[in-house]
């Protein structure tokens, strides 16, 4: 069991440091989503089933979709898109 805990902890550290230190934003997002999954497993290991559920649904599910969505908007700036949409208030 202690091996399990240590592996979980080290994975968590690697993912956390990796997620914030990437230059490639997409890689960063994937690492963050993965970290959400590992955090959820850690909560499950600690017996906090409620937290694990919320963590996996929000951290791995919705936040991942949200970040990927944002990334899409960042990659295609309004100016380059040219659909005649009002960007004057930006």
């Amino acid at each position: 069991m202690i091996v399990f805990d240590v592996v979980l902890m080290v994975t968590l550290w690697v993912l956390a440091v990796g997620a914030v230190s990437q230059a490639d934003l997409f890689k960063s997002v994937v690492l963050f989503v993965t970290m959400g999954v590992v955090v959820a497993v850690a909560w499950a290991r600690l017996g906090a089933a409620d937290l694990a559920m919320v963590e996996v649904a929000v951290g791995a599910g919705i936040t991942g979709a949200l970040f990927l969505n944002t990334l899409g908007h960042l990659e295609q700036r309004p100016g380059e898109r040219g659909e005649g949409e009002d960007t004057s208030h930006l």
Partner: protein, 84 residues
């Protein structure tokens, strides 16, 4: 039981290497997908090890939402490449 947990956790870490090395976005997404399924497996094994069967519900949520990120990933790139 502990052997099972160790093996599943081992495949967990393998996914990490794939995410790190890439090389393509698809590879990284694949790694995240493996994290999803082996995460559910780990929680299941934990449920048996700790004899805490309420963790089954957690695994249920894991399994049911595993596809969300992948769908979002594909949708994003597809929509970006589509002529508006």
């Amino acid at each position: 039981m502990i052997v099972v947990a160790a093996l599943v956790l081992g495949s967990f870490s393998a996914a990490l290497i794939r995410i790190w090395r890439g090389p393509s976005g698809a590879d990284r997404m694949m790694g995240a997908q493996l994290f999803g399924s082996s995460g559910a497996a780990t929680v299941l094994v934990l449920a048996a090890m700790l004899e805490d069967w309420s963790l089954i519900d957690v695994a249920l949520v894991f399994a049911s939402l595993a596809a969300v990120t992948v769908v979002a990933f594909v949708e994003r790139t597809e929509r970006a490449s589509m002529p508006q």
